[in-house]
Amino acid sequence: MKKFIISLLAAGALALPSLANAADYKIMAPAAPGGGWDQTARTMQTALQDEGISGSVQVTNVPGAGGTIGLAQFVNQASGDPTSLIVGGYVMVGAILTNASPVSLKDVTPIARLTGESEAIVVPAASDIKSMDDLVAQLKADPGSVSWAGGSAGGTDHIAAGLIAKAVGVDPTKINYIAYSGGGEALAAILGGQVTAGISGYGEFASQVEAGALRLIAVSGDTRIPGADAPTLKEAGVDVVLQNWRMVAAAPGLSDEQKAAVTADIEKMAKSKSWQDALAAKGWADTFLAGPAFEEQLAKDITATEGILKDIGLVK
């Protein structure tokens, strides 16, 4: 309900110009209105229409189970339809595995990665832990004494914590991960000093970091975040690179020409001023990547995620 509602705002604000014509594109957001995937879909809708790439774009929401309900419906209903698109992301990779979903990303035609966000590792300002080194030392000494607050079990935050443990030679099943049902609740627990460290998307913590209530000790992307004074995990000596990316995919069963046409449209959109302005307004990083390079990265992410989820013990 919560997600649904925030969304409606976005919906109301963004969907106004779409009034006429047959839909050139139908974008499915496999989440309730308001969340990241829904916002991505609706931002695409605006950009595609504003730039005249598509006369009219419809967005539908099919929420539930980390996007796997929407994905299954998309695979069944859109097969062979070159005007159907689905938004998704890294979270889906994990959800497909943990929910034992009957369909996977292999059943759709991935088109491009659009945006990405680094995970951030923070500690309360009053904490004795001053750097990633301190955290790693404590983790190695007694993994149970480091409680990590983040999103739900098996999600990006949990995977990131598992990867960090594995990279520094700690058994990932031994991490003491405390799941919270939304960034807000986890943030309150970190600010209140209830847990040792927090791990979540950088956007969740940005304002508290600026205000000095939280100490940012590392970010998970391959480059530093501009304006934030913290090393990447790699720079801090932990060999983990992880991005919570969002992508767009097309229906299964497309011909090569159809796939090329969709890719061209999406590429045009991603380069457009309307899209770039929207990214800047929302603070999303442009990580556009299409074609074979994207497919390669996707395959790599799926393998790594499968490995770490097995290591943590969430997937048998």
Partner: protein, 505 residues
Amino acid sequence: MDTFSLLAGGLLTALQPMSLVYAFIGVLLGTAVGVLPGIGPALTVALLLPVTYKLDPAGSLIMFAGIYYGGMYGGSTTSILLNTPGESASIITALEGNKMARAGRGGPALATAAIGSFIAGLVATIALAFLAPTVVKLALSFGPADYFALMVLAFVTVSAAFGSSALMGLTSLFIGLTLGLVGIDLQTGQARLAFGVPDLLDGIEVTTLAVALFAIGETLAVAGAGARAPDKIEPVRGSVWMTAADWGRSWKPWLRGTAIGFPIGAMPAGGAEIGTFLSYAAERRLTKHPEEFGHGAIEGVAGPEAANNASAAGTLVPLLTLGLPTSATAAIMLAGFQQFGLQPGPLLFINSPQLVWGLIASLLVANFMLLILNLPLVGLWVRLLAIPRAWLYAGILTFSTLGTIGANPSQVELGMLLGFGLLGYGLRRFGYPIAPVVIGLILGPLAEQQLRRALAISQGDLLVLVQSPLAIALYLIAAAALLIPLVMRLRGRGEVLNQLAADED
């Protein structure tokens, strides 16, 4: 003082004639949409927010505040008159409010809700303005062990909503707790009671359960009673206004509800509904008319309604100072604030004092406008009950399903609506209370997650549960709430307690 001059400046802007017109339109729209059964305040605000985009910032802020208060009040109206709460925080209002409405006392019930909301909103908004930084510090010191203690207290007080039989109340509560198990376990990612249905993995939506049990269950029960039920309910018996006795019985619950609701709303994991449960339980224990509870006691409307509104203002504390949305309504408000260029967070009061004080002034003015607009309308709302019930209930089902379809147009969701509707009918038929089912669905998962978090952080050390002074205090209150009536009854003292004894079967 700086605070005062800023607030005065905000009030001056908010009291401009044009601002008052915007506030009026906002309250009117908010009430009109919020009053539809099945559409709660959160959805009302979300739907109407885009209307405010076209105004200048000051105007849109005040219209937004009006929509917010209008939606809150509209939700209570359907809860009282039609027994169809649009969200979890007004379920308790329906308990006594609807009984009053059926006895022809819908007018006083609506009036005490409106005035109680006004007073709670006024006091809590002022508290927000002057105490926010202190309150937020206190709220953040609540750890998982303290939250678990709070849940234990809430569970103890649920018994106040049990009705005549403890066995039946517990049955309802445990059905709710069972429903709360459904879905993926947050801590471990394991699916429980989902039986391979993907739609069940995210758990059961509280709104769906509440709308089904109350609106659909009620419709089926009334239809099944056939000729036994009167075709129309007498909308007004006695005065449509509050009598002197009503005032006398309402003012203390208003203040107590405010005092309970505001701090609980300010806690990041408190939840608006818990304040209403505690307020209802408190009023039931303190009332001089215990025989009326369960049959339409005005205290049972006045207290929870004040608690509901005070906790709504309380949720603004973490929202404005930390940027934490802790309820559905707060989540929309956050989106709304961002639209007005207000960036909630620790630096908000420093970076944009004009906007914050403008918002607080707008809330005060809109709150006042709500009272002016709605008190005269009470007589009109009560007339809703005069609609022949075939059209009334057909309309209720239309709007109730609209809310569910709008949130998630899936057949599984509508199937649950039908299934839980039949459950609601069955419960009514055999005299089981309804509210504990919804309370179980809300409290069960909260209690379980907080307990497991507390134990995980302490690495399994059970002592952590009783180490904080806050938790100990909460356990003591819970023990007192449980034991004092028992002890007093054993001693056979006082009429009040005899009544309580009779209630417990």
